[in-house]
């Protein structure tokens, strides 16, 4: 089926089997490789992206339902030259070990911080409940998210930048 997808503010026309999960289209068709394939079963959170302001697991999200919805991936949070607050904070706090879980963590955190820039640790843990990190950098991830909240408040600048 032909479908038009709005990802990070850009519209893409693609032709795809309606039974395809969103993750495959992001990575294979659009070559947006931030979202990762971890389990493919909705259990690890590595594939988390934001759809209409809410975190979803793109490996179990039917692409056929994504027409007309706003999708954001880590590529939409900033660029290499101009990282967004979440990206800057994760670098500053050195929150990545292997980094595989980090894009998913960032997208869940992005949803949380947009609703609440000063979350408690409990709120961060609850929001990231479905994101697993096999390297165990959880404490740094918590610190990075708190830091990102600070950066967002300081900047009071737009929290979401458009790629490219």
């Amino acid at each position: 089926m032909a479908i038009s997808l709005n990802v990070n503010g850009e519209t893409h026309e693609i032709d795809v089997d309606p039974a395809t999960p969103l993750l495959y289209v992001l990575r294979n068709d659009l070559e947006l490789n931030a979202a990762k394939f971890g389990c493919g079963l909705g259990q690890c959170g590595a594939c988390t992206v934001v759809v209409d302001g809410e975190a979803v697991l793109s490996c179990v999200t039917p692409v056929s339902l994504m027409e007309g919805r706003e999708i954001t991936t880590v590529e939409g949070l900033g660029t290499i030259e101009e990282p967004g607050p979440l990206q800057a904070a994760f670098m500053e706090m050195q929150a990545a070990q292997c980094g595989y879980c980090i894009p998913g963590m960032m997208m869940s955190a992005h949803v949380l911080l947009r609703k609440n820039a000063e979350p408690s640790d409990r709120e961060i843990r609850d929001a990231l409940m479905t994101n697993l990190c096999r390297c165990g950098t959880h404490m740094r991830i918590l610190a990075a998210i708190r830091r990102a909240g600070e950066l967002m408040q300081q900047a009071s600048a737009p929290t979401e930048r458009r790629a490219g």
Binding site: D17, A19, P21, G42, V56, T61, P62, L65, R125, T130
Partner: protein, 492 residues
């Protein structure tokens, strides 16, 4: 006002002959007379049923209780699942204050820690025995049957003594639960005297001599402390368990408690072995994982010795009875299909949809959202159940499958548990209805459900309240209440 309103409405219309003009003044006068009569009868009942105060006792020394008795009480508290209602998620165990929504209003559970002011610290054993047997607190006030004393009345004095010992040796917590939020007349505790007269069959448990000792032990646990029927038996409009429809299915905290009698909708009928495995482990390969309020039940039953689990299973299996020929044959067919891994009704994952599926709007959703786990090769409890085996998909009411698809099964804190992603942010009401219609058509022989989109909308908005919690765990929500002095202490 729930049942009460309905009763009044019915009474009014039945007493006025059809087609006759009603004089409003006369009618109001008539209602007033009825009301006064009812109040008189209620007051009379109250006088008959009046229960006095039992004197408070001075602080009970926890070390005065025999250790074995306390350990026995811990197991019994697990059977009774006391912690579930008497604990707010994340708060200290047994300190009460959990809101229990009922059709009549909201009731808050009481503090059953041995704090003398806000808990039961100044209750004598006699007062505790009376509360369990008659549903009356130490001060003589009637308790609401949200506290299932209509079941607990079957519990023996010895078991109540052990429960008392267990509770009185918990950490005292100073915490007063909020006031109940019940409209008139349900806020009048004296009406419960009438309720008790009508619906309370006082114990203790009478064994059935025609049955085995194991069966009787199971019946005692399941009907008494276990209070299975509090959820699994439907209630009448007075909120009383409808004993004519024993185990015919009810509801709890927004979940359907399936029928566990001959009308059980499980595609493969339960037997004593599968029940025992499920109650012990919180899942079974032919039935899936326990979830919703049942997750706490199976989580707690983990504290029980095998012989008690086996006894409950034997009793419940006997209530379910032997399945008929059709169900047996269907079950054999399903088992054969499962052991082959691939089936006629269960086609392959992802893009490999069945002929004719292309037309069904739910088919593509199913293929990308569900098939990966539910038609995959990962075994239970961490893989998904084949939906041809799913009681939820085969049940008369779609509420449970709506709940899990919307809210998923969240992970439990610090424990391995089955998880499922929530699809509330992916699927709108109609898409959800399409998906469920497809699953019902493909994985069940039962007729299609009606008005699913509407049910989804009411559940999503919270108009229909659902308690969301991890599969099989003792915790409520992401916080583990056992960690605050509940079930963990029970092990020592």
């Amino acid at each position: 006002m729930g049942g009460g309103t309905a009763i009044w409405a019915n009474a009014g219309s039945a007493l006025i002959p059809k087609g006759e003009e009603v004089d409003p003044v006369r009618f109001i006068r008539f209602l007033a007379v009825v009301l006064i009569l009812i109040l008189i009868v209620a007051a009379g009942l109250f006088a008959i049923a009046w229960r006095g105060e039992i004197e408070p006792v001075a602080a009970v020394d926890p070390s005065s209780f025999n250790e074995d008795l306390v350990a026995q009480g811990a197991q019994l508290a697990a059977v009774g699942n006391c912690i579930a209602c008497h604990t707010v998620p994340g708060q200290p165990a047994f300190a009460g204050g959990l809101a229990i929504p009922t059709p009549f209003g909201t009731i808050y559970s009481t503090n059953i820690t041995p704090d003398p002011e806000s808990g039961i610290g100044n209750w004598s054993e006699e007062a505790f025995q009376r509360a369990m047997r008659e549903g009356v607190d130490r001060q003589g006030r009637y308790l609401y049957p949200a506290f299932p004393y209509d079941h607990f009345t079957l519990v023996t004095d010895e078991d109540n003594r052990a429960l008392y010992a267990f509770l009185m040796t918990r950490e005292p917590v100073r915490s007063t639960p909020p006031q109940n939020d019940l409209p008139f007349p349900f806020n009048m505790r004296m009406i419960l005297a009438g309720w008790n007269l009508l619906f309370l069959d006082k114990g203790p448990f009478q064994p059935d001599t025609a049955q085995s000792e194991e069966w009787n032990r199971g019946a005692y646990l399941a009907e008494g402390l276990g209070h299975c029927g509090a959820c699994h038996t439907p209630r009448n409009r007075f909120g009383a368990v409808d004993s004519d429809r024993h185990f015919a299915g009810g509801e709890a905290e927004g979940w359907q408690a399936y029928a566990i009698n001959a009308t059980s909708p499980a595609p493969i009928p339960w037997d004593a072995d599968s029940l025992a495995f499920y109650l012990r482990n919180g899942w079974h390969e032919w039935h899936g994982v326990s979830r919703g309020p049942m997750a706490e039940v199976t989580g707690n039953l983990g504290l029980l010795p095998d012989r008690d689990i086996a006894a409950i299973a034997t009793y419940v299996a006997s209530v379910m009875g032997e399945p008929d020929q059709t169900r047996r044959e269907r079950a054999e067919q399903l088992k054969a299909e499962i052991s082959q891994g691939q089936t006629a009704v269960q086609a392959a994952p992802a893009t490999d949809t069945q002929a004719g599926d292309a037309q069904h709007p739910g088919a593509a959703i199913y293929a990308s959202a569900c098939a990966g786990c539910h038609n995959g090769s990962k075994p239970l409890p961490f893989g998904g159940l084949r939906f041809s085996l799913s009681t939820a998909v085969n049940a008369p009411n779609p509420q449970n499958i709506v709940n899990v698809v919307l809210f998923g099964l969240p992970p439990s804190d610090g424990e391995a548990s089955a998880v499922m992603p929530a699809f509330a942010n992916v699927l709108d009401d109609q898409q959800m209805a399409d998906l469920l219609a497809y699953m019902r058509e493909r994985y069940s022989e039962a007729p299609a459900w009606e008005d699913v989109a509407d049910l989804v909308a009411r559940t999503r908005s919270g108009q229909y309240k659902v308690a969301v919690r991890p599969a099989d765990g003792i915790e409520r929500g992401p916080e583990n209440v056992g960690a605050s002095g509940g079930a963990e202490d029970a092990e020592d």
